[in-house]
Amino acid sequence: MDARMSMTETGRRQGLMARPVPRAESEAAPSVVPTTVFDINDVSVYYGGFRAIRDVSLDISKNQITAMIGPSGCGKSTMLRCFNRMNDLIDIARVEGSLRYHGVDLYGKGVDAVEVRRRIGMVFQKPNPFPKSIYDNVAFGPRVAGVKGALDDVVEESLRRAALWDEVKDRLKQSAYGLSGGQQQRLCIARALAVSPEVILMDEPCSALDPIATAKIEDLMAEIKRDYTIIIVTHNMQQAARVSDMTAFFTAEVNEQSDTRTGILVEYDRTDKIFQDPADRRTEDYVSGRFG
């Protein structure tokens, strides 16, 4: 009972509840030990009757880049979309298990998915800027969050962080669709940064980009890591090895009776460990290219 109460308290402090409660002065967090941002336990996701991932458990620490790798269809995107409740948008999707964000049950009663998504932003596989100007794209998040008045500073700051400012500063009022694919993706990153989230989820953000654009985005991730916690899905193992601190390897298990595949987390460890000395045979096969 006590635990539940304090959970609710934390939830209020995080501001996730639908009803805003005056923010209490937060006591200084101990900053030596890496803070756990997400505490995931036995999470399964179903699409209708189909179980897409099964019993995934992992912790994600603050200011780290966590990579999720694995063959296509093993549920990486499905897992990622649990972190900010994007699965709510899919009618048939159902999430089981416990996902705690700073101790708050993300799927708990009274938690507002909109508040969750303001703190946990997302960058998608295909660049998806709005059919609006570059400026309006970046300003969109702050505007829907109710920020009134000039957003010039926020827009500039976000575009600088996304390493796009110099390329677009003279054409902020032009359509975002005039940008190249790589620029559009950095614009989407800038757009996500503009609402100052704590966490940024990236679902194969470079899969539609050429190597130069990819390198720019990887550099920028390393750059912004100080201020954000990043979870990235990638099926590019070199990318995972280059950018991430922690790596989670997923694979798909074939269910004999139903002939469907369910994703499971095989191994989760420091990235160098996963790539140099994996504990599981399946991980080793995958990272050494003997699989998929």
Binding site: V114, R117, M122, N128, G141, V144
Partner: protein
Amino acid sequence: MAQATADPRLGADSPDALRSDPRKRRTERIARLVFMSAAFFSVVVTLAIVLSLVFEALSFLLGVDLGALFEMGWFPRRGLFDVRTLIVGTLLVTGIAMLVAAPLGLGAALYLSEYARPRLRRSVKPMIEILAGVPSVTLGYFAISFITPQLLRPFQSDVAFFNLASAGLAVGILTLPLVASVAEDAMRAVPQSLREAAYGLGSRRMKVAVNVVFPAAISGIVAALVIGASRAIGETMVVAIASGATGGSLFSLDVFQPGQTMTAAMAALGAGTDQVRGADNAFQSLFFIGLLLFAITLGLNVFGDRFVRRIRERY
């Protein structure tokens, strides 16, 4: 072995294999001709209609005393051709109809596209489309038997039995499903990835609908309104039944009094209540009104198109 030359892959060995077959070429030509005539048929018919309209309208204008175009009302059999009466009638009816159809139609479209669960949408959309199939005669009688006595008279003292307001409301109901359906298609066509982008930034449904889906679908939405307005302008039967004044009407801006729209006046001229061969020229006046109607609808479409070009967000 003996059949070797029949193998079409042996190009060089059988020079005939590459030669075109005159029969196949002829089939191609005939097919092309058939499809071309189908395409040109509609163009030719449209042109023929416009030309005959222009021709008859001109002969009307040449035969009529121009002063008769600005009179106290539209009484073709008595030689009074005040077209303002009809244009105002049309604008009033269309205006009232769009006051009903635009907000309800776009609201329904937004609801179905952004709020309703797929299963609900799948059952509600066909129901709305059935409403589009209700014969307009029915709505004409609905106007006189329900709208006027139940909706208008309780709130307004001087409501004539036949009146423009009830006709406008009924035309609005008639147009609503068309607007809703076309607008909903346009909204559904907005890529899901844009919605996800907006939700991912912490937008509420309302913001997604209003700030993302609506502007991205604006060209289809304007098209829905233009189609709806064109339909309202063209609607004849409801107005002929509900707003009365078959013999002609006095110029009036009062929507609670009888009146005629351009189409209703044309129908009255043609239907025999007004003998088409009444006064000289009454018959030709029909074509003149028809031409005006054509010009208005065309203008509406061109305007809609221009407007869309200016404000469209391409995705």
